[in-house]
């Protein structure tokens, strides 16, 4: 058969596959939003959950999700940037750095439930942090750090060597070249990766079930002293997140409106993850345009 015909057939098959993927995604989104959005209200978003009656909300879970996200990003962003810069700009090619890279790759492919159990053993039990936000944030860091580090490394590596030469030839030191030329050029990619990572963390459940815990004790939103036990900021309190809440309601929820609460919470979760994804694109492009002066 002639190659033109094959080309047409192959293109057709690829279009078909792509179309099916988009349809599945669209179906999922519409299904979740259609079922969930009717239950989402200001009251639902702000009031605490109820275990036995209907009319509970997801306020505390929502707050927990964001707090946990921020804590884990605060830990993982600086580490991943440092490690990524080292791997891309300074690490020599030898068995040790190869080992580091391989370990990072293995770590990033660990199933999140394994990370969760590891976090349970190490952070909750051995380190004595119990079911707490801090255990959860550390587990999420283990889960997220490898991907973030790889993202920083790849973003830096994608900047052409001629830019490094240009900087050095101008009389910049290596560190100045990295800091003032390579990192700014790679920033859009780095930030996009960070936001996507944030979305991943926000929707994560399995790594948190045994670390941040499955209960959301009531919070006193008038007392922000992090050492007070019911303070929203207390990092040592257990904190069920939105994703864990959805999992929990579906496995053992006994409130009469469990399915509605679950649908509403899923819709909120999906919307948040979508915002992260679109935000990543927007912010990345925006920063790139701002840095480069292109209009």
């Amino acid at each position: 058969m002639d190659s033109k015909k094959w080309d047409k057939i192959a293109t057709g098959v690829l279009y078909f596959i792509a179309g099916v993927m988009i349809l599945i995604l669209a179906f999922l989104l519409i299904f979740i939003l259609w079922n969930g959005l009717p239950h989402v209200s200001w009251h639902f978003l702000t009031s605490p959950a109820k275990s036995f009656q209907s009319g509970g909300g997801i306020g505390i879970q929502l707050f927990n999700s964001f707090y946990l996200l921020i804590l884990s990003m605060l830990i993982s962003i600086p580490i991943s940037i440092g490690a990524g810069i080292y791997l891309s700009e300074y690490a020599k090619k030898n068995w040790l750095t190869n080992l580091v890279r391989t370990s990072i790759d293995i770590l990033s492919s660990l199933p999140s439930i394994v990370v969760g159990l590891f976090g349970f053993l190490v952070f909750s039990i051995s380190a004595g942090l119990g079911f707490s936000i801090l255990s959860g944030a550390l587990a999420l860091t283990v889960f997220n750090l490898p991907l973030l580090t790889r993202n920083v490394e790849e973003s830096l590596r994608s900047i052409s060597g001629s830019q490094r030469e240009a900087g050095l030839a101008l009389g910049l030191s290596k560190w100045e070249t990295v800091l003032k030329i390579i990192i700014p050029e790679a920033l859009p990619g780095i930030i996009t990766g960070m936001i996507l990572g944030a979305g991943r963390v926000f929707g994560e459940a399995a790594a948190l079930i045994y670390t941040a815990g499955q209960s959301a004790p009531p919070l006193d939103f008038t007392n922000w002293n992090p050492f007070y036990i019911a303070s929203p900021l207390n990092p040592l309190r257990p904190a069920e997140t939105l994703a864990v809440h959805i999992w929990k309601i579906n496995s053992e929820g006994i409130m009469p409106d469990a399915s509605q609460v679950s649908a509403g919470a899923s819709a909120v979760l999906i919307i948040a993850v979508l915002i992260f994804n679109f935000g990543a694109r927007y912010v990345g492009n925006h920063i790139y345009r701002k840095m480069t002066g292109t209009k």
Partner: protein, 255 residues
């Protein structure tokens, strides 16, 4: 001729190895202040390699070993005490492919200065204008300094890159085939600009373009397979070369 001119760089017996491969086999030559020196020779003969020994850019390649001395202002730049960062401020470099930073034209030109700690807006503005004028591109870009340098044509980008080097005020400017990616008109403009610049700078230029070498350089060096074959006044090299290889190369019989 201008034989009384001062020598600013003198290289003595420079050998350079990439791993085991000897790319420079003992180069001894010097460069005079406020002259344009052209390095010519067939592909792979070591012109770029030699040029990059003059600002120690070859240090960045891990497998490289270099022996010999390169004196700049009577100081050996390969002495252990040399600060390569300071050296590269004195010896600027322009590459074959224009490599502007993907920032605004303004930021490109003052990058070196700003990192050196200059904050005064007036000084920066002035440096931008002077450097861009020297690079003969001020009139083209003066109304769009805040636009990305990437939005310029290749020839314009190359001149911004030259302005960026000039802003650091080096003594010596190394150019590695700066016009090979450009059309004849842009090349001509850059050649004229180099002729203007030589009153203030010492210029060392690698080129494959014989007209370019003969038109703008004061002295010309012919390299072949890692050796310096002949080095003399440009006029002598082109009209009356001593070595057979030089004559063959210039008349296009090989290379």
């Amino acid at each position: 001729m201008a034989d009384e001119r001062k020598e600013i760089i003198s290289a003595t017996d420079v050998h350079l190895f990439y791993g085991r491969n000897e790319a420079l086999k003992g180069i001894t030559m010097d460069f005079r202040e406020n002259e344009i020196t052209a390095l010519i020779g067939p592909s792979g003969c070591g012109k770029s390699t030699f040029l990059r020994t003059l600002n120690r850019m070859n240090d960045l390649i891990p497998s490289v070993t270099i022996t010999g001395t390169v004196m700049l202002h009577d100081k050996n730049i390969y002495a252990p005490s040399t600060d390569t960062v300071a050296l590269r401020k004195e010896v600027g470099m322009v590459f074959q492919q224009p490599n502007p930073f993907p920032f605004s034209i303004y930021d490109n030109v003052i990058y070196g200065l700003r990192l050196a700690g200059v904050r005064d807006r007036r000084i920066l503005d002035e440096a931008v204008e002077t450097s861009l004028r020297q690079a003969a591109i001020w009139d083209t870009v003066k109304d769009k300094l805040s636009e990305s340098a990437l939005s310029l044509s290749g020839g314009q980008q190359q001149r911004v890159c030259i302005a960026r080097v000039l802003a650091v005020k080096p003594d010596v400017i190394l150019l590695d085939e700066p016009t090979s990616a450009l059309d004849p008109i842009s090349s001509g403009q850059i050649e004229n600009m180099l002729l203007e610049l030589k009153d203030e700078y010492t210029i060392i230029l690698v080129t494959h373009n014989m007209q370019q070498a003969s038109r703008i350089s004061d002295r010309t060096a012919f390299f072949l397979q890692g050796d310096l074959i002949e080095y003399a006044d440009t006029r002598t090299i082109f009209l009356n070369p001593k070595e057979k290889e030089t004559e063959d190369y210039i008349s296009g019989r090989f290379g």
